[in-house]
């Protein structure tokens, strides 16, 4: 094997042009149509074939969460106090089939998010744009008037209310432009029209996907995507343990491969220096937490919630998630990758304090709680660790396993939800705007699909959320969210348990690999490449 064993350098080294990067994956992407798919993994992939007005930057750490222009010349000009946004397109932009990318295409792409069948990705289009109430997308209702296209290069968005983070929202792949009239039904799921550096060459659902260069993509129009390899090849449907074995062995084309995070059982095996040097590690940008249903007794008492916060030993929780290599102790609501986040620990592990608080609440003799969780080994381990910890303060925690396919439905339905649930939250982009409001705005509590699991409806918090949303300065808003985090935690509606980490082993020939904070810590696909491409 040409590239196995002796590494040709660190994953961070600059990649050369050419070759095929292989990706080993558990499951296929849900959708190739960007208006439908919406998760860290697929968004990362969309950047290879699709371009939007703006995008997340390329680079490790904060670089990766910065909003930069893509098809647009800049990140947009707000007017009308942030209610109207104007963007100008670069020159020389083409789709895979040679049609130029115009403002009309941008508008068409955006309006697709309103299609009742297709628009199942992010909700931001409908949340933000000032569209007619019953607009059903371009296929059913035709053009959308609230996006103006005064000329081929200019596009103007009219929002419902001021939204400072609009360029961030536009970085989501849901708003990918497409030639007008294309993509009805599920056309793009099978045959997408690429605007990025690669296009789909073949796709066998559930087993493989191959991307090759898109000749219509002009590198000079794109300052972010390195696009070094000539091709990408995904293998789907692999067992996690098998992926780990393959990545460790790194035989044949696996030397040119990248994969998902390793499992806890593999951590001990990546400690050898040869493997360690091709290992990346970092946070996935999410928070794993236990919500406490504030509508249930005795959790309606803030002292009880605080006591629980104090009583849980987060070290054992971390151990359950795979140890310090795969998780860090959670303290605040927002994970460390969020801009403006303040590092603080309101409820350090303190059983005495917990007992005291419970005694104050008149519950020194304990009570029993039911915890909803998934039968996923990691979640089960966390649940058991919590159970073990709460035993010390005489809280009898009953674990209620809910099948993975129903878990979110059950906990998102206040009528069915129990006292507590172990779950997690990842922001859509790295700011409090997509973290705190969905989880703690009392007005968001719905009868179904509820995200405010604590069901906390605090007037002060709600008002503060509105105030921050109205801020036009993104940095100021982010700082405010950092403070709001503290305010919310005073109420202790949740127990932040851990910030999950990823450990990525890459092939020995992989170069230019770093974890992107915008894509749940996955390797940024637009920058990765091979150190020595073989032909």
């Amino acid at each position: 094997a040409p590239n196995s064993g002796t590494g040709t350098g660190s994953p961070a080294a600059a990649p050369a042009t050419g070759g095929t990067v292989h990706v080993l994956a558990k499951a296929d992407f849900s959708h190739l149509d960007p208006v439908r798919g919406f998760d860290g993994g697929v968004n990362n992939f969309y950047r290879l074939i699709y371009r939007g007005l703006t995008m997340f930057g390329a680079g490790p750490g904060a670089e990766g969460t910065k909003i930069v222009p893509d098809l647009a010349t800049d990140t947009g000009t707000p007017s009308d106090g942030g209610k109207t946004w104007t963007f100008t397109l670069k020159d020389n932009l083409f789709f895979e089939d040679g049609t130029p990318i115009t403002s009309e295409a941008v508008k068409f792409g955006f309006s697709r998010t309103f299609d009742p069948e297709a628009g199942i990705g992010s909700p931001y289009g409908k949340l933000l744009l000032d569209a007619p109430k019953d607009y059903q997308g371009p296929y059913l209702d035709g053009d959308l008037d609230t996006i103006e296209t005064p000329d081929d290069k200019t596009v103007v968005f009219h929002l419902k209310k001021p939204f400072a983070d609009f360029p961030s929202a536009l970085a989501l792949a849901n708003f990918t432009p497409f030639p007008k009239g294309t993509g009805a039904g599920a056309a793009f799921d099978t045959k997408p029209i690429a605007s990025g550096p690669y296009k789909v060459a073949s796709h066998q659902r559930g087993s493989s996907l191959k991307l090759v260069r898109n000749p219509q993509w002009k590198p000079e129009t794109d300052s972010v995507r390195a696009a070094k390899p000539d091709a990408f090849e995904w293998t789907f449907g692999l067992d996690p343990a098998t992926i780990d074995e393959r990545m460790l062995a790194g035989q044949g084309t696996d030397a040119d491969a990248i994969g998902p995070s390793i499992q806890a059982a593999t951590v001990a095996r990546v400690q050898q220096p040869q493997i360690k040097q091709r290992t990346l590690s970092g946070l996935n940008g999410c928070t794993t937490y236990m919500s406490l249903n504030t509508t249930k007794k005795p959790l309606d008492d803030v002292r009880v919630r605080q006591a629980i916060n104090h009583a849980i030993n987060k070290d054992t929780v971390v151990a359950g998630m795979g140890g310090s290599a795969l998780a860090a102790k959670g303290t605040s609501i927002q994970p460390p990758t969020i801009a403006g986040r303040v590092d603080y620990d309101p409820y350090p592990y303190n059983v005495e304090q917990a007992r005291k608080l419970l005694a104050e609440a008149g519950l020194a003799d304990g009570f029993s709680l039911t915890l909803d969780t998934r039968p996923d080994p990691k979640m089960a381990a966390v649940a058991v660790a919590i159970q073990d910890a709460l035993k010390q303060v005489k809280i009898d925690l009953k674990i209620n396993n809910i099948d993975t396919s129903t878990f979110y439905e059950v906990i998102g339905t206040p009528a069915q939800q129990h006292d507590a649930a172990v779950t997690g939250w990842c922001p859509d982009w790295a700011s409090g705007a997509t973290f705190l409001p969905p989880l703690f705005d009392g007005r968001n509590i719905t009868a179904k699909g509820n995200a405010n699991l604590a069901q906390i409806d605090d007037k002060a918090i709600n008002e503060r959320i509105d105030e921050i949303a109205a801020m036009t300065d993104v940095n100021e808003a982010n700082a405010a969210y950092g403070e709001l985090d503290k305010e919310v935690m005073k109420q202790a509606p949740i127990v932040p348990l851990a910030y999950e980490k990823l450990i990525l082993v890459v092939g020995s020939n992989i170069a230019g690999a770093y974890q992107s904070s915008s894509f749940s810590g996955g390797i940024d696909l637009i920058s990765v490449g091979l150190a020595k491409p073989t032909k």
């Binding site: 996690p240 343990a241 059982a265 795979g322 058991v384 396993n401």
Partner: protein
């Protein structure tokens, strides 16, 4: 004197043949060892709290000191953390004592597996015999029910049913569900062999002797199915231990942290390269249990068979 005569009459056939069989088994080393092992497991299950008391480790007590949390939670020390502290080592990640979990797990696993085996065997044998014996509409009805149960997506059903039912007594529920969907497999085999045996002359002879249907089926035909039954039932035990584990894995089995052998084996899967003992220990217990059951079944059969010519 009268008492003795009386007892001899009441005890009837089983007394002497029972004594004979017991005598034969006592002289058989393999049978004695198997019985001893099974007794040990049962004792372990019953005395699980005592074991925890002696070793000082409950089945759910974490011992993060026994594992290396920086290395994904592998147990400290060789052989999966076997030490004077933890006689059979500890689980990776959380350091729970394997001995305690094996002992407590025996309760769940063996109760579920043995009860499910007993129930499926009972249902399978009775219904299979009846279907094979009657071959008329009774056969039709039983066969269609079997077809339905076998064709039914049991797994989906279990997930749907079990996850929407209250926690209640999970093991009982599991046994019932496993048995309801499990018996047709055995029943079809029994039915097939019964169809062959029904036409044998000794069955006709028994019929002429005035045997009722029940007697024909259970006294004359059943003993001739023994060989297949022993194999299928002994092998059903590990199968059901696995089923319980699988269901637990899907979140519809026993609720964590309750240990069961199947779950231990299932969760050891990922650790096979780093901590093989994690699999080897529950695996060995399961293997030895099945081996003991099989050996005992074989020997029992041989002892009953031998007649005068043992």
């Amino acid at each position: 004197m009268t008492v003795a005569a009386h007892s001899q009459q009441v005890a009837g056939a089983p007394a002497t043949s029972g004594r004979r069989v017991a005598g034969a088994l006592l002289h058989d080393k393999a049978a004695v060892l198997s019985s001893a092992f099974l007794a040990l497991i049962v004792l372990m299950a019953i005395c699980a709290p005592l074991i925890s008391l002696i070793t000082g480790h409950g089945p759910n007590d974490f011992d993060t000191a026994a594992v290396d949390t920086d290395l994904g939670g592998v147990p400290h020390g060789p052989l999966g953390g076997i030490s004077a502290q933890h006689l059979l080592g500890v689980e990776p990640q959380n350091g729970r004592d394997i001995l305690a979990r094996i002992a407590y797990g025996a309760r769940v696993s063996l109760v579920i597996a043995l009860a499910a085996t007993a129930l499926t065997t009972l249902l399978g044998v009775v219904l299979g015999l009846l279907a094979g014996f009657y071959q008329g509409w009774a056969d039709q009805v039983i066969c269609r029910v079997m077809d339905f149960l076998m064709a039914f997506p049991a797994l989906i059903f279990m997930i749907a049913i079990l996850s929407s039912l209250p926690q209640g007594n999970r093991p009982v529920l599991l046994v019932v569900v496993i048995s309801v969907f499990g018996w047709p497999y055995l029943a079809r085999v029994v039915r097939g062999q019964t169809m062959t045996l029904v036409n044998r002359e000794f069955v006709e002879a028994a019929r002429a002797s005035g045997a009722s249907t029940g007697a024909l089926v259970f006294k004359e035909i059943l003993p001739n199915l023994r060989s297949s039954l022993i194999v299928m039932t002994t092998l059903a035990v590990p199968g059901y231990v696995g089923t319980e584990a699988g269901l637990s894995f899907l979140g519809v089995g026993v609720v964590p942290p309750t240990p069961s052998w199947g779950q231990m084996i299932a969760s050891s899967v990922g650790w096979y390269a780093v901590d093989p003992m994690y699999f080897a220990i529950p695996g060995t217990f399961l293997f030895l249990t099945v081996l003991s059951l099989t050996v005992l079944g074989d020997r029992l059969r041989a002892a009953f068979d031998s007649g005068e010519a043992a």
